[in-house]
Amino acid sequence: MAFEGLSEHLQRVMSKIRGKGKVTEADVKEMMREVRLALLEADVNFKVVKDFVKRVSERAVGQEVLKSLTPGQQVIKVVKEELTELMGGEQSKIAVASRPPTVIMMVGLQGAGKTTTTGKLANLLRKRYNRKPLLVAADIYRPAAIKQLETLGKQLNMPVFSLGDQVSPVEIAKQAIEKAKEEHHDYVLIDTAGRLHIDEALMDELKQMKEVAKPDEIFLVVDAMTGQDAVNVAQSFHEQLGITGVILTKLDGDTRGGAALSIRAVTNTPIKFVGMGEKLDALEPFHPERMASRILGMGDVLTLIEKAQAAVDEEKAKELEQKIRTATFTLDDFLEQLGQVRKLGPLDEILKMLPGFNKIKGLNNLQIDEKQISRVEAIIRSMTKEEKMHPEIINGSRKKRIAKGSGTSVQEVNRLLKQFDEMKKMMKMMTNMPKGKKRGLKFPFM
């Protein structure tokens, strides 16, 4: 119980009220107590929690809820609305300087993930906005920090500007911008050293860098696991530098991420991106309303739909539906489906976005081994055309050959064939269902 997320907490509280015909003031009070505890356990700053609870209580106890037809639902709505509000309304974009290059400074405490995020942001700028960023290694203090950014640059095939660790960061920033102008880079991403917000000397250095670089954006990179101190850190950086946005990292952990709420509330600067994994494409725009939904356990369906649209070919989807209907779904189709699903990203991430998924016992900690899928793909690829069309002809010796060819075992081949068989049976059952219930059949194995 101790480790459940904010969403489970609120869900439990809500389920008590949901369906109730009438909500009394005492009900609301009890619920708010739970909300308060849940938020505190989620590391939301206690002052922010206090405000939040007060605001929601007022609205919930007020006319709006008590007299509505479905008071239980109404309370949930109020909580969600206020939560979204707290996280800062609509998402924001990255600034574009009227005269390039656009300069972005990355600042934050040690170990927040600035360097990795710098790489991810550069990747995103190039991929999504077709920009040409220059990475600047201005962390001269931490051993091998420059090397780290250079390695990332190599992985991304992007230029990294560095002057070694003997030149002052202010000078590095200055020269980097000149170089960017010469070489027509439209974005300059400056990776600065991690520092404590109370380290005056180092904070002064950042102020000087700001003066020289005149950045269009100063992003504060914050670890999503940060506790109550998030407020102090964010406030201090904001007061001294005037940050323009926040990037929240390590949100793919099991942290409840209350820091997000706190930072937003005290600095009034938007959270622009969230780090969702160790890979270089794991930086996503921050969507407050989606995040609120996710916290409340309503699932992040919007993100899922967006991802699916980006990855799934409409034509092919229709074709597939036809095949399912006529029961001519073959192992070849299965292989293609696997490929499409994989394009969506790590499977366990996708599953987490499904509403109610975290409520299914035993599944909330599910980890899908991507390697397992690769093995399945290998098995199918080791089959002949005929075998893929008519798996029933696969006998013992064929199985042996397939296992050998795919580097797997006969048992694994058997398992796959059995699963495929069951899937087909299931599809048959589904196609026999009355119309209208057939929807959502596009990913049969999810």
């Binding site: 480790f3 170990g111 993930g113 990795t116 780290q148 696991m225 101190d229 409840r256 980890q367």
Partner: protein, 330 residues
């Protein structure tokens, strides 16, 4: 209340630069924490529900954790009843007494490292990303070297860009050999190599770095289990210490980290880093209380000698130094 006097005396007896370091490192922490407790005590004339509610908030703001705070406050309430305390002034002592009690737990063992008298000692470092594992290894290597031990470092973080180079810089700084392979290689293999090398060269202590990993990544935790298995297989009784590095700025998630890493690698101690910021690291209280994992070291700054053995009394003294001094003047 002679508790403060006792504590103060004990501390001044061993008064040295270390206590001073604690005080400096915790200065910011102390200012806000002790200041607020003081303020609380000054403002209330009676120890009542409201008093406790606000105390609850102060403790929560130190990241102590809701469950532990509730327990602590309940115990305090009992204590108040038992001793019939009316005056908030008296609460100062009771509060710090309880805090030290939680830190101490049942045993009085000092938080010393389990270093073998003869033969190789292997210490494995684990933790999530960005907590300061590599830096801590560098600092500890320096400390062990200055105690006359020979030290070897194993570059087990083969994942993060620049991690191997970072450890190499530390190796150069403190004069310790670094055993490494190329980036992306199997960490268990690196550690295996390092153990063989350590045995062959007859070094005293082998410090094993690992890549930071979020504790909910099951596959990565399995990889860590494998690393530990390799160590166990090669040297009976090893690893002699598994140190979980925790960032003091981390909130309640630190408990989840401690729990999961303990399950996977049987953590024997905690290194609490970045305590020189404004974060209080109060979650170690809860971790000690619930999981009985002691804090062995604290990181109090960026310098190579800023890693200090953890002493609960000094820690609480650091937190409450203002209160102690006030008390003595009276």
């Amino acid at each position: 209340m002679n508790f403060f006097k006792k504590l103060k005396e004990k501390i001044t007896k061993q008064a040295d630069s270390v206590t001073e370091k604690f005080k400096q490192g915790l200065a910011k922490t102390r200012d806000s924490f002790a200041g607020r407790v003081n303020d609380l005590i000054a403002r209330y004339r009676k120890v009542d529900e409201e008093f406790f509610e606000e105390l609850e908030e102060i403790l929560i703001s130190a990241d102590v954790g809701v469950t532990t705070v509730m327990e602590l406050v309940d115990e305090l309430k009992m204590e108040v009843k038992r001793r019939n305390i009316q005056d908030p002034q008296e609460m100062q002592a009771v509060i710090s007494e309880k805090l030290v009690e939680i830190y101490r737990g049942d045993d009085d063992k000092p938080a010393e490292l389990n270093i073998q008298e003869n033969g190789l000692t292997v210490i494995l470092f684990v933790g999530v990303n960005g907590v300061g594992k590599t830096t801590t290894i560098g600092k500890l290597a320096h400390k062990l070297k200055s105690e006359g031990k020979t030290v070897m470092l194993a570059a087990g973080d083969t994942f993060r860009a620049g991690a191997i180079e970072q450890l190499e810089v530390w190796g150069e700084r403190v004069g310790a050999e670094v055993i490494k392979q190329t980036a992306g290689s199997d960490p268990a293999a690196v550690i295996y190599d390092a153990i063989q090398a350590a045995k062959a060269r007859g070094v005293d202590v082998l410090l094993c770095d690992t890549a930071g990993r979020l504790q909910n990544k099951v596959n990565l935790m399995k990889e860590l289990e494998k690393v530990k298995r390799v160590i166990e297989r090669e040297i009976p009784g090893a690893p002699h210490e598994v140190l979980l590095v925790l960032d003091a700025t981390t909130g309640q998630n630190a408990m989840s980290q401690a729990k999961t890493f303990k399950e996977a690698t049987d953590v024997t101690g905690i290194v609490l880093t970045k305590l020189d910021g404004t974060a209080k690291g109060g979650i170690v209280l809860a971790i000690r209380n619930e999981l009985r994992i002691p804090v062995k070291f604290v990181g109090l700054g960026e310098k190579v000698d800023d890693l200090q053995p953890f002493d609960p009394e000094r820690y609480v003294y650091g937190l409450f130094a203002d209160l102690l001094e006030d008390k003595n003047e009276q």
